[in-house]
């Protein structure tokens, strides 16, 4: 089919673009590391030579700060984007993003709680964040199960209930937190940032991102069928509730892992799938790979901007929102005649 080959071309072009963005992101930042420096570092590493004195500090920044950070941007960006695409297909609603079932709100509350607790166990913030994120989704799904009339819309409403509840809890924590020490770090968390990313975080995030991406890429045709809604998916031989449970669980895990390490990074899950649909078409076989790559590029670029724009780093969530909101507005305008916006 002609269409498929053209979508392969898109994926190829975007992959090159991603590689280029990745390299650019590696050399951008306040400490200048040139491409030539990286090549020297690599050749030194291969030949087992020690680097020149001025290169050592660059080497440290490169290997322990910038490289994990850029890899993390790719993992988190594509995870958030594909989760958004999956949610939009499942709920048949283009305005839905992974936050809708309260996963981000739960994660953020967990992180805030972790930051304000009087003791500090290793990894406490990340663990609490992840745990409360999953708890929030479970509450939404559980509440929807208990009501269970029209599954999709009830789930969205249950999500709103849980989301508001966790937001209220977050405000409580903020109110009682120390305004000089704890509050700024909570706010920084809410706005999302890749500043504190370590190799450890990358190792935790990678399996979630990889397994989710593989699963979603495998199930793209099923997502088309699921997006027709409960009755039609059933009449076409699928069991929508099983697929919904699996897909929601996996994407929630991806989002929870993202938010637990980098905080709330908004708009990627909402706006990237729209851009991908515009480039590749609405069929998930074509748009899902594009969504993953675009999400990665978007967060890489946003993060590079966030760390190079001023002396003090800007939370990346501000950049993604500043870029995402107008983009979303533009695509809403552009798609006004396709019948679903």
């Amino acid at each position: 089919m002609k269409v498929v080959s053209s979508s392969k071309k898109i994926v190829l072009i975007l992959s090159f673009l991603l590689a280029a963005t990745f390299l650019t992101a590696l050399i951008s930042g306040r400490l200048s590391i040139q491409m030539s420096d990286i090549l020297v570092m690599i050749s030194n590493l291969i030949h087992g030579e020690t680097s020149a004195r001025d290169l050592i500090s660059k080497e440290l920044v490169f290997a322990w700060v910038r490289l994990p950070r850029c890899i993390m941007a790719i993992l988190v960006g594509s995870s958030l984007a594909v989760s958004g695409a999956v949610y939009q297909a499942l709920f048949r609603n283009p305005l839905v993003s992974p936050d809708i079932l309260g996963v981000s709100a739960g994660c953020t509350f967990g992180a805030a709680l972790g930051l304000t607790l009087p003791f500090n166990v290793f990894g406490q913030v990340h663990m609490l964040s992840f745990g409360f994120g999953i708890l929030a989704v479970s509450l939404s799904v559980g509440l929807a199960r208990a009501i269970s009339i029209k599954p999709a819309i009830v789930l969205v409403l249950a999500g709103m209930v849980v989301l508001s509840f966790f937001n209220a809890l977050l405000m409580t924590v903020k109110y009682f937190s120390d305004p000089y020490d704890q509050l700024p770090s909570i706010i920084f968390w809410v706005m999302g940032s890749l500043t504190r990313v370590t190799w450890n975080n990358v190792l935790i995030m990678a399996p979630f991102a990889a397994s989710g991406l593989i699963l979603f890429l495998i199930l793209t045709f099923r997502l088309n069928v699921l997006s027709l809604g409960e009755t039609q998916a059933r009449s076409l031989g699928m069991n929508p509730s099983i697929f919904r449970t699996v897909l929601i669980t996996v994407s929630s895990l991806m989002v929870a892992a993202s938010v637990a390490t980098c905080g709330q990074i908004s708009w990627i899950g909402l706006v990237i799938p729209h851009i991908a649909r515009n480039i590749a078409g609405p069929e998930h076989e074509r748009m899902m790979p594009v969504t993953a790559i675009l999400g990665a590029i978007f967060l890489l670029v946003s993060d590079s901007v966030a760390r190079s724009m001023s002396a003090a780093e800007i939370p990346v969530g501000i950049i993604t929102a500043l870029a995402g909101a107008p983009l979303f507005g533009y695509f809403m305008f552009k798609n006004r005649r396709t019948g679903w916006l």
């Binding site: 045709f221 009449s235 076409l236 031989g237 019948g339």
Partner: protein, 261 residues
């Protein structure tokens, strides 16, 4: 003629209230059966029980001799297809992509439709003289064309039984006849057994081989169109005095009596 679908003692309750009960009927191979009934009489519930979108409380449905309850969702989808009422709120898929989804029951879970599936989808559209629709945005075509596309999807599903949920709803005068003629043609050509719920008794008289009349959740009358479609039956079915006009010695039309004055 061979029995395609057999329904015995079917019953479905929702929150303690019996919606349908004592439903017995057979559908023969390659026939067009129409379900008539007032709003809320249980037509849609009955159809949804036949492909297990709803779980019947009791009773037996067998398709080609196989018990519905012993089949997987996928196996059912290879035997019964559903043409839902017209809708538009999905992503702006092309018609071809909507039609090819009819191949889902034949694909493995991770499999994507291949060239042969697209060929089947194109042929389904050809069968309905609607090949030209293939590249169009499903959301941007007319209601009649959308119904044709959904019918093509059911054809691509290559099932021996097809359920149509009020297929002529939202269609204009001409399109109603056009669509039903196409359905009747397929039913004969491909030996597909079709069960459709409809609102207009006159449309049903023109196209149906058999009629099932449902009142208050159970079958009031069933049988061949000519024998069942009488003034008396329709008067009871719709709870309104019905008159008839004979067009010639074989064809007649029904109207509420007060219209005929």
């Amino acid at each position: 003629m061979a029995v395609m679908l057999e329904c015995k003692g079917l019953e479905f309750s929702f929150t303690g209230k019996q919606v349908i009960y004592n439903i017995d009927f057979n559908i023969q191979k390659g026939t067009f059966t129409v379900i008539l009934g007032r709003n809320g009489s249980g037509k849609t519930t009955l159809m949804n029980c036949l492909n297990r979108i709803l779980l019947p409380g009791s009773g037996n449905v067998t398709i080609l001799g196989k018990n519905l309850m012993s089949l997987s969702t996928n196996e059912i989808a290879r035997l019964i297809s559903l043409v839902p009422q017209e809708h538009i709120d999905i992503f702006p898929y092309s018609v071809l992509d909507v039609v090819v989804m009819g191949r889902a029951p034949f694909l493995k879970i991770a499999q994507k439709p291949g060239d042969s599936d697209y060929a089947i989808a194109i042929n389904a559209l050809k069968d309905l003289n609607a090949e030209y629709l293939a590249p169009h945005n499903f959301n941007r075509i007319s209601g009649g064309e959308r119904q044709i596309a959904l019918l093509a999807r059911a054809l691509a599903q290559t099932t021996p039984v097809m359920l149509l949920d009020e297929p002529t709803n939202h269609l204009d005068f001409n399109n109603q006849y056009h669509l039903l003629a196409a359905i009747k043609h397929l039913c004969r050509l491909k030996k597909i057994s079709i069960l459709a719920s409809m609102h207009d008794p006159n449309l049903a008289s023109v196209f149906a081989d058999d009629i099932i009349m449902i009142k208050n959740g159970t079958i009031m009358k069933k049988g061949q169109t000519a024998s069942v479609m009488t003034r008396e039956n329709l008067s009871t079915l719709y709870n309104t005095d019905t008159g008839e006009i004979w067009l010639n010695d074989r064809k007649k039309m029904f109207f509420p009596a007060h219209i005929l004055g």
